[in-house]
Each structure stands twice: as structure tokens, then as C-alpha cells.
């Protein structure tokens, strides 16, 4: 009995410090989680400070969501990635007012004089959009050439070492044949007509020695099921790409194929 009462009295004495301790722990954990989910999440999209021509220069990122590029036809290098630019309102609407006063008379031009000061401040903001033109991690490879080859285990990464495997350089005609055939067999009208534009969907498959595709899988979904399915069906329609070149010693070639959907 005495032991129990002792414990009880000690517990009562430590109650407040324990409460503080638990409270602070919870607060710290919550902070860590929030930091990880939000702040880290925002940064996650912009992974790719590395760059330039060598896409491999980027550092590894903890989360796997690879940059789903929307295929911007106007500027192949630009992406939707907000990560490198501060999320500021676009300065575009402010440009219009300065354009209007120019043709007017002397009196008005005096009023306009302060305006150049404003534009100067705006121009300071301009360099930031340029940053988004940097090639984000992994997108340098496909953009720079129609296809890139890597050997070894770069699977899952978008790092292109450029000259890893020699299949593409030796048998570029075969690669072009694959590209042509998949594109021909992709029927865009199978995609939900309500979708105007979608993110890129990545498929991977192997081409066996005799040329038939196998192990087709969606590596990265576009988020639009009908688009993913239309891509997979394009592969299903293909019986063969033609036997692998006789000079090629490997038993199969792996292909990562992306589909850009744009309704236009």
C-alpha cells in the first residue's frame, strides 16, 4: 500500500512538467509534419536547381513524384514548375497602363514621369520568370534530342547520361520505327473528349528479340484514366516492332515512352 501511495504522490508532483513535455513534443512533431508537407511540398516541385545541359547535375529528391511535364509546344524548355520562381501575382496587368499615356500631350507626360520609376521596379521583378526557364531536373534530356539512351540502372530517374547505352546511336532507325509505330497506333479520340490538355503519361515496356512488346506498364499516370488507357491500348494494338537488329546482342530493349495529349 505504501509503495502505491508513494508512486501516486510522485506522479502528482510531476504532472505539470509531463504535461509541458508532452505538449512541446506534440507541437514539435506537428511543426515537423507541417514543415515537411507544406514547405517541403512547395519545394518539391522545383527540384532542379541543377541544370544547364547536364540534367544529371541535380541532386536527389526525397519524394518520388517526378516532374510531370506538360508538353508546351511553344517553349519546350518551359514547364509548369513553380518551384524556382516566387509565387507572385503576374506583373502583366500593370504593363497596360503605361502603354496608354504615351501618345498624349505635354501636360500628361509630366504626370507620366513618375511612371518610369514604377516600371523600373517592375523590371526588377522580371528576372524571376526567367528562372523558370531553367531546365528542371530530368527534363534536359528528352528536350535536347528526340531520344536519349542510358545503360544500367537509371530506371525511374530522369537522368540522361547521354551516351550510356549504344542502342540508340547504333540503331537509330529502329528507335525511330518504334516511335513511329506507337504514335500511329495511338488513337487520340479514345481520350475523354472533355479533357483539353493533360499531363504527360509515361509508359514502359520491353521489346523482345522477335520484336513484340511485353511488360507494358504505366510508369507515371497523367491523372486522366482515359489517357493512360489510350496509351496502353496503343501498345496493345502493336503485335511487333520488327525483330531487334541482328547485330544487337541483347535479348531485349526497354523503352520508356511518353504521350503528350493536347486536344488541339
Amino acid at each position: 500500500m505504501a509503495a502505491i501511495s508513494n508512486i501516486y504522490s510522485e506522479h502528482a508532483g510531476l504532472g505539470r512538467p509531463f504535461a509541458w513535455s508532452i505538449g512541446l513534443h506534440i507541437a514539435f512533431t506537428a511543426f515537423v509534419i507541417l514543415y515537411a508537407t507544406y514547405i517541403q511540398g512547395f519545394r518539391g516541385e522545383g527540384w532542379g536547381s541543377g541544370g544547364g545541359g547536364e540534367a544529371m547535375g541535380a541532386t536527389l529528391v526525397s519524394s518520388v513524384p517526378l516532374p510531370a511535364t506538360t508538353a508546351e509546344k511553344t517553349n519546350v524548355v518551359a514547364t509548369e514548375s513553380k518551384g524556382l520562381a516566387k509565387s507572385e501575382p503576374e506583373p502583366v496587368p500593370e504593363v497596360e497602363p503605361e502603354a496608354i499615356p504615351i501618345p498624349d500631350k505635354d501636360v500628361k507626360t509630366k504626370k507620366v514621369k513618375p511612371a518610369p520609376v514604377k516600371t523600373a521596379t517592375q523590371r526588377k521583378a522580371l528576372p524571376e520568370p526567367e528562372e523558370t526557364n531553367k531546365i528542371p531536373y530530368g527534363q534536359g534530356g528528352p528536350v535536347s534530342g528526340p531520344y536519349s539512351m542510358t545503360a544500367g540502372n537509371t530506371k525511374g530517374g530522369f537522368g540522361f547520361t547521354g551516351s550510356g547505352g549504344d542502342f540508340g546511336s547504333r540503331f537509330s532507325w529502329y528507335v525511330q520505327g518504334v516511335q513511329r509505330k506507337v504514335t500511329e497506333n495511338w488513337l487520340k479520340y479514345e481520350v475523354d473528349p472533355g479533357i483539353a490538355q493533360a499531363k504527360r503519361v509515361y509508359l514502359t515496356f520491353d521489346i523482345a528479340r522477335d520484336g513484340h512488346p511485353m511488360n507494358v506498364s504505366v510508369e507515371q499516370s497523367s491523372g486522366v484514366p482515359s489517357l493512360d488507357q489510350s496509351a496502353a491500348r496503343a501498345l496493345q494494338r502493336i503485335d511487333t516492332f520488327g525483330p531487334l537488329p541482328p547485330d544487337y546482342s541483347g535479348s531485349k530493349v526497354s523503352v520508356e515512352f511518353w504521350f503528350d495529349y493536347n486536344k488541339k
Binding site: A151, G168, S169, W173, V175, G177, R180, G211, F257
Partner: protein
């Protein structure tokens, strides 16, 4: 001491071999590519083959060879053939004579180059042909072939077809070329409607049957050994069979009534239209004429069945059950009948080798006051979306797919009489194959 050194040496060799093995098994070649990178036809130059010796027969055979090869590559529909006027002055006959930079840069700016030589020696012709990827200086050779045969222009034609098919097979994604395929058709040029055959390019037109009556709907079997057609006999229209093993018409069961428009399934069964029970319905029989099954059972005439050439599990046919003839599909056991066309007058369905598409002849507007033009259409089975293939060019009928799925042969009246024409499956590159008499109902061989 020496023992332990040897052991270490041996272990290191084993370890090295293992490492090499591991490296080679993990060396996996990857292709990364996608859509939207510009899909263009392969730019191909076909240099005239050269004589490899100075035999007197060379020039004549070379002329045939070069013409046939060029036409085959041009007809393939997958190449952008570089005009010969762009070619460098020195055309190669041997790999050592190829100047890659001259071919790979403008004006020819080709990516592929076909070249070779031909020579006659003691009645035999030898042809060597190469296909080079001239933009790839490290390992340019894609193909190298040698052929030998009797020195006749017939043999040289076949060699040119074979070499063209090799190139098409390599660069066309593994689909065999059609240069050696045949087209069967009905011709009236002898005064009777008989079955004729020609090469896919219209050469070597020859009669097969000499029955003296009316023979229609030639259909070559998938293995190419037999030809089914319908012909008028004493008892009316019956299915007839021609054997290429015996080179004559062989006996085949008679069914009574009117039996028309046979069609082969990929596994050698036949579907046809028979009115033995009163109304024309679709029946199937096996290749020997036995095991007859009735698939449709209605009054509306059901005719012109065609099998899904890929799966053999579906049949498209024409039915007048709802008035004007329309295209329907059903499973090969007669279930799941679906109407494909919704208006007009649709006949002559033919199933594409990939199983996805039907082509048929359609008057979309039909009736008094409707200027119905009889054109060919292509329909995607799954979505029922269609595309018009011919425009403003007379009556077009009896489309039939080539085995590569890239061409369609059809009958057209655009030249003023019914003749056989071909086109690419998108309606372009239209070519006339027959010019004499009335030629109708073409059927392309399966291979």
C-alpha cells in the same frame, strides 16, 4: 607460397568473370522517346544498281531491277523517296564507294540509302544489295543481301521485290512488305466474267478460270493454296473452289439455292450467303465444305460476310433487314448482331488485317433527289467513327485490304469503265492497275 598465390590468382579470375557477368546482365539498353517529336516518313534514297561485270545482258536486267525496286519502295507508303535528280553524281555499287557525307547532307539529305550491284555470269544473275544508314557513320549497315537466280527479267523482278520487302520489313516496324503479294479479280476481257490474277503492282495479269460462264467474288485462302469464288452452274449460283496445287477447279459441295460471296476466316473456314432455306442468310462451313452452320435467321437478305482477319471471332455482313442494305457485325456464332451504319446504302465490307477497321462502299445519301456518290469509307469498329477515303470520283466499290494493312485495292469507275485501283489506306497515292476491259471485285492475297 606459390600455392596461395595461385589460389589468389584463380579467385581473382573467378571474381572478375562474375563481375563481368553481373555487368553484362545489368547492361540494359533503354530507349526513351515519345509522341510529339515529329513523326516523319523515313527519307530513303534508292541509287540505281550498277553492273558488277560487263555482261551484255546487264543493262536490260538492271533497267527492270531498278524500276521494280523503285516502284516497290514508292508504293510502300512509308518512305519519303528522295528524287533521283538530287543524287550525287557518283552512285555506289559497293559499300566502299559510299560517300556518307554526300548522301546525308543536302541536297539528297537522306537518312537511308539502298544500293548495290547486279551481274550476269553464264546464264545466272547475282544481285548484291545493301541498305545503309548514312547518318550513322559508325555502323551504317542496316541490311546486306545477296541473291542469285536465272538471268531472266522475271527472276530479276522477283529479286527486286524481295529486296524491297526486306527494306520495308526492316524500316516499316516488322510488317512484311507486299511486293510479292497477288491480287485476284474478275475480268470480262475474254467476253466472260472469269477470275484473273496479277501482281500487286498490276504486272503479270493472267486468267485463272476458263469456265465460260459468270464467276464472281474471288477469295484467296489464308494459306494461298485455294481460291473460293461463286459461279453460275446448272443449278444456280454455287461456291466453287480452285486449287493452286492442282491448278484447276476442284469439286466442292453444292448447297442448292443461291450461294454467293464466300469469305475465308484466318483459320480456314468459309462464310457465305446462301438462300437454301428460302431467304439469303449467312452460313459457315469448314474448308472442305462440311459442318454447315446457319448464323443469321431472318428475311432480310444477308450477304457479303467478311471475317475479322485478326481474331476470326467476328463477321461483318450486309443486311437489308431494315430496308436499304446496311453493314452489321456479329460474333462468329451469330450472336450479338450490331448495326454499324445508320443511313444510306452500305455494301461490300472488308475487315482490316489489324481487326480494328472495316472498309466498305457507302452511299451516305440515297434516294430521290439525293446526289448519292458511291464512295469508300473506313470505320473504326470500337467507336463507329468513320472517315471517307474517296471523293468525287465515280462509283467506287469492293474495297479489300492488303496484308500489310497499309493499302486498299478497290474497283472504281472513275476512268470511265470499271477498273482495279489501289491506294494507301488513308486514301492517298491512288494508282490504276488494270486498263483493259471491265475488271471488278479485287481480292488481295493474305501474304
Amino acid at each position: 607460397m606459390s600455392y596461395s598465390v595461385r589460389a589468389i590468382y584463380r579467385a581473382s579470375i573467378i571474381f572478375g568473370l562474375l563481375a563481368l557477368l553481373a555487368a553484362s546482365s545489368s547492361a540494359q539498353d533503354w530507349i526513351r522517346t515519345g509522341t510529339g517529336l515529329g513523326v516523319e516518313r523515313v527519307r530513303l534514297a534508292a541509287a540505281d544498281f550498277k553492273g558488277s561485270n560487263s555482261d551484255a545482258k546487264n543493262p536490260e536486267l538492271l533497267k527492270t531491277f531498278n524500276e521494280v525496286l523503285w516502284n516497290d519502295l514508292d508504293n510502300a507508303g512509308i518512305f519519303d523517296l528522295v528524287s533521283k535528280s538530287f543524287y550525287p553524281l557518283q552512285e555506289p555499287g559497293q559499300p566502299s564507294e559510299v560517300n556518307s557525307s554526300a548522301w546525308g547532307s543536302p541536297p539528297p539529305n537522306t537518312s537511308m540509302l539502298a544500293f548495290g550491284n547486279l551481274g550476269v555470269a553464264s546464264g545466272k544473275v547475282t544481285v548484291q544489295g545493301w541498305l545503309y544508314d548514312v547518318k550513322n557513320t559508325a555502323s551504317p549497315q542496316v541490311l546486306g543481301k545477296q541473291y542469285a537466280d536465272n538471268a531472266t527479267s522475271e527472276a530479276v523482278r522477283v529479286i527486286a521485290h524481295r529486296f524491297a520487302d526486306e527494306i520495308i520489313f526492316r524500316l516499316g516496324g516488322g510488317i512484311a512488305g507486299i511486293a510479292e503479294t497477288k491480287i485476284y479479280f474478275v475480268s470480262e476481257r475474254t467476253g466472260h466474267k472469269e477470275i484473273w490474277v496479277m501482281d500487286y503492282d498490276g504486272a503479270n495479269q493472267q486468267p485463272l478460270t476458263k469456265l465460260g460462264g459468270i464467276s464472281l467474288s474471288p477469295r484467296i485462302s489464308p494459306d494461298g493454296s485455294r481460291l473460293a469464288f461463286s459461279s453460275v452452274t446448272k443449278n444456280g449460283w454455287e461456291i466453287m473452289m480452285y486449287s493452286f496445287d492442282l491448278n484447276r477447279v476442284i469439286s466442292f459441295p453444292r448447297f442448292g439455292g443461291m450461294n454467293l460471296s464466300p469469305s475465308w476466316s484466318p483459320d480456314g473456314k468459309l462464310a457465305f450467303s446462301s438462300s437454301r432455306n428460302g431467304y439469303p442468310n449467312i452460313f459457315t462451313i469448314d474448308g472442305s465444305g462440311g459442318n454447315s452452320h446457319r448464323l443469321t435467321n431472318d428475311q432480310g437478305p444477308d450477304v457479303s460476310p467478311t471475317w475479322n482477319r485478326k481474331t476470326g471471332s467476328q463477321i461483318a455482313f450486309v443486311s437489308g433487314r431494315s430496308g436499304l442494305p446496311q453493314i452489321y457485325t456479329m460474333e462468329s456464332d451469330g450472336t450479338n448482331v450490331q448495326r454499324m451504319t445508320d443511313q444510306g446504302y452500305a455494301v461490300s465490307p472488308n475487315w482490316a488485317p489489324n481487326g480494328q477497321f472495316l472498309t466498305f462502299s457507302w452511299m451516305r445519301k440515297y434516294g430521290p433527289g439525293e446526289p448519292g456518290s458511291n464512295d469508300l469509307y473506313l470505320m473504326d469498329i470500337a467507336s463507329k467513327q468513320w472517315v471517307q477515303l474517296t471523293h468525287d470520283s465515280g462509283r467506287n466499290d469492293f474495297p479489300c485490304w492488303s496484308p500489310d494493312g497499309r493499302h486498299i485495292v478497290f474497283q472504281s469507275h472513275r476512268s470511265g469503265s470499271d477498273e482495279i485501283w489501289t491506294m494507301l489506306a488513308d486514301g492517298t497515292n491512288v494508282k490504276q492497275l488494270t486498263f483493259k476491259g471491265s475488271n471488278t471485285q479485287p481480292n488481295w492475297s493474305w501474304k
